[in-house]
């Protein structure tokens, strides 16, 4: 069942979505055993920014029909502390083969910046350490100058990816935003600019209002808006993955509402090379492993 993805040999086609599985916290809560029977064939870090971020004020969660809105705000300790404190631990994750041998879980580091200089600095910094196997670019971030999401505009996306592409020889994955007019056009722009793969879908922009008795009736979420995930977005993910896979020749990481092997199979049949699991891991930390084992021929 092992798959080749951007030159990485993955034991199975199921990885995690960025920001949905804090492996260090999970190991501390669920036991060291998680570090050597890791559910995913590669580990994607949460989004790392140049400077530390505290994240959004609470409330950060809202349950919806068949899903949830998160407004977490990308809390992270910043690039320097990530490289010195977290990267060594995150690159030592292992999974067991059916024969019982321990194999390494490649580390994919997800980065985000609101201007080109930041993104370039992040990509350059991730190019050096051998512990990082690939870089994923989170482009669902407003450009500080225009206020528009970098990844929502094909031309802006092309410019950013073109500029950082020469800074690393590692696989560069562009995590597309679904909050755009034409995701396939954005995917093609990323491919033209030298991306090795695209991943989608990120969460759909969403919000929830404070209880109806409150005046003024603002957003319930401390961050104002958030992203919808879970089974509620599965059909949207399938359509966007199919559209993108038909438009590019680079590999596609498909995600969005995958809870069972059948959902992963749908995304693969729609053109994804591998799939990512996010919200389902909140409900069951070993969901990724169950989904992978169900994909066995």
């Amino acid at each position: 069942m092992s798959v080749e993805f951007c030159g990485l040999s993955l034991a199975h086609p199921v990885i995690n979505g960025s920001g949905t599985f804090d492996a260090i916290a999970a190991i501390s809560a669920l036991g060291e055993g998680l570090a050597d029977s890791f559910p995913f064939s590669a580990y994607v870090s949460k989004t790392i920014t140049l400077e530390p971020r505290a994240g959004n004020p609470p409330p950060r969660l809202w349950e919806t029909p068949a899903g949830m809105i998160n407004s977490i705000g990308l809390p992270n300790k910043g690039l320097a502390a990530y490289l010195s404190e977290d990267m060594p631990r995150l690159s030592s994750l292992r999974r067991r083969t059916p024969e019982g041998a321990a194999v390494a879980v490649p580390l994919i580091t997800n980065v985000m910046g609101s201007e080109l200089a930041d993104i370039a600095a992040l990509v350059s910094a991730c190019d050096e350490p051998p512990q990082i196997s690939a870089i994923e670019l989170n482009v669902s971030c407003p450009n500080v100058k225009t206020g528009l999401d970098i990844g929502a505009d094909p031309e802006q996306l092309r410019a950013v990816v073109s500029a950082v592409r020469p800074l690393t020889r590692k696989p560069l994955i562009v995590k597309l935003t679904p909050n755009t007019a034409d995701v396939a056009m954005c995917a093609r722009a990323a491919e033209d600019a030298g991306a090795d793969a695209v991943s989608l879908i990120n969460t759909l922009r969403a919000t929830a209002l404070a209880p109806s008795g409150e005046r003024p009736r603002g957003s319930w979420l401390g961050g104002g808006t958030g992203g919808l995930s879970g089974p509620a977005i599965r059909a949207v993910a399938l359509a966007q993955v199919a559209s993108v896979a038909a438009s590019v020749s680079i590999p596609v990481v498909g995600m969005g509402g995958v809870e069972r092997s059948e959902h992963a199979r749908d995304l693969i049949d729609a053109g994804a090379s591998i799939v990512a699991v996010g919200t389902a891991s909140f409900l069951d930390p070993m969901a990724g492993a169950s989904i992978a084992s169900g994909l066995l021929p």
Binding site: G19, A26, G31, N70, I72, F282
Partner: protein, 266 residues
Amino acid sequence: MSGEPLQRRELTVAAVERLGAYHLLRIADSAGPEPLAGQFAMLAAAEGWGGGQDERPFLPRALSIARRQDGQTLFLLEDVGPGTARLCALQPGERVLSLGPLGNGFTPPHDGRRALLAGGGVGIAPLAILQDQLPGTATALLGFRGSSHAPGAALLRDAVIATDDGSQGHRGTVTELLAAELESGPDAVVYACGPAGMLESVRALCEQAGVPAQLALEAPMACGFGACHGCVVPIRGGGYSRVCVDGPVIDACRLERVDEHAGAPA
């Protein structure tokens, strides 16, 4: 190699009892890990989870472990939303999905101080297992809205009760009972769990009295094991802590105030 990680398990409901407005859910769990007082589990019904009010619930609910007894794990529930409604409707023999025990528990008193337990509403749950685990019978002060909820006090031994409407025990708040206790003997450690407003009163009272307090916080959670960063509370000095992995029991001195959004799951 370091053993199997804690995993979500499918367990069977052994019994559901009523304590006034509350449901006491008994789950057969003879093989499960022994919880520390103050720990919690993420709980969902194996069937019929979703499709309730507003087509919810979707996420599992974080619930304090109320007791371990005769191979069963006990949870105290109140029907306040689609998740708790489904859990309250569970029948013996039905299956639940449980991930736990999770989080940091209470730390027993030190320096010969006595334990003072202060609980409000469904928040009395973790104080029951704490009373079980402490030597003797720790003083328990419990606050309820009125006579329909006061029967919950049967979960603890020798509880002193306050009700908002005065229908049972002291008319007023549990914090008033606690203030009187601290006046007569400040050599105590306070263990509290309840609604955000009550916890903030307890925190402020203990700070003023110079008494250490451990607060069991509640927050809506998606995962319960640190993955989602959704359940944060602001902490003293800036920044946020996750209730699931940095709590749910937290030293009161780490908080500037108890966040108004902290509360039991619906």
